[in-house]
């Protein structure tokens, strides 16, 4: 059941990205280009998403288990550390360079865009590189 939910949620999430226009990198860079001809649409996507999301997360925060009886897995970390800020900064640079973040890139992949394939393969390589660095750090700590 949880797997079927995941599939359907992924589908609705992707439809939301398509409806909002955010699957198109030009729409995203149009928002990030404050000094050019600015398209504020992305701010309205965030506002719409947070308005609905805030209600759901307020309900979820009072629950010990999910509606399907699963354990709630919400992050408890509240520290603003260097990894969070450095990682987000690196992500922001990549986001600005191409106009793609992970969700829209996967939707564009589903549209059969060759350039989206290039981006997604590189993104997976970046994620794999992170795992490799983590494994290496864990080994050198253990020594």
């Amino acid at each position: 059941m949880a797997i079927l939910v995941s599939l359907l949620i992924g589908l609705v999430f992707g439809l939301g990205l398509l409806v909002s226009g955010m699957a198109d990198p030009a729409k995203v860079t149009g928002f990030l280009d404050l000094a050019g001809r600015w398209d504020p649409s992305l701010a309205f996507v965030m506002a719409g998403a947070i308005a609905v999301g805030a209600v759901a997360f307020a309900l979820a925060s009072r629950r010990a288990r999910s509606w399907l009886g699963l354990q709630m897995r919400l992050p408890a970390n509240r520290d603003l550390d260097r990894r969070l800020l450095a990682g987000s900064a690196v992500f922001g640079i990549g986001w600005g360079l191409a106009g793609f973040c992970p969700g829209p890139a996967l939707v564009a992949l589903g549209m059969g865009e060759g350039k989206a394939v290039v981006f997604v393969v590189a993104m997976l390589a970046g994620m794999a590189l992170f795992e490799a660095v983590e494994a290496w750090r864990a080994r050198s700590h253990a020594r």
């Binding site: 030009a26 609905v52 805030a54 759901a56 699963l70 986001w95 969700g103 350039k115």
Partner: protein
């Protein structure tokens, strides 16, 4: 700053945003998890038992969304301006950065802010600022 009024689509943006918020909200209420795309995808590269199927299903749903869209509407035209070399660099940065920073636009920007997480407020401010700065450097300083 000038507003690109002909490209500004507040209605579609807010409606699509509400769908994104609805899916993220239902995901936490039903499955008890954060619908953060970089985390869902990145977790597939650190596989643990009983953890792969739902992640793969979520990703499959996202990739299949354009097929569902095509049942109701005419296909969208994407505009990907970046060169292949730039897409490789951008993809590497997005992949590594989202994993190091524990999230992207969905996990921090939508879910984290919806649950008032201080880490997500800081992360979102950080990647937004760097996104603005990068586009300014590339489009206005470098190109000039």
């Amino acid at each position: 700053m000038t507003i690109a009024w002909n490209e500004f689509t507040p209605g579609a943006a807010a409606a699509g945003g509400a769908l994104i918020g609805l899916s993220a909200g239902l995901f936490v209420l039903l499955n008890g998890r954060i619908a953060g795309i970089s985390g869902v995808l990145g977790g597939l590269l650190r596989p643990s038992r009983g953890d792969i199927a739902w992640r793969a299903a979520f990703v499959a749903g996202l990739v299949a969304a354009p097929l569902a869209w095509a049942l109701f509407a005419s296909p969208l035209q994407l505009h990907i301006d970046a060169s292949p070399g730039m897409l490789v660099l951008a993809g590497l940065l997005v992949g590594f950065g989202t994993r190091l920073g524990s999230g992207c636009t969905s996990g921090h920007g939508v879910c984290g802010i919806s649950r008032l997480s201080p880490r997500s407020f800081a992360a979102t401010a950080c990647f937004m600022a760097m996104g603005f700065l990068t586009v300014w450097l590339v489009r206005h300083l470098w190109a000039a």
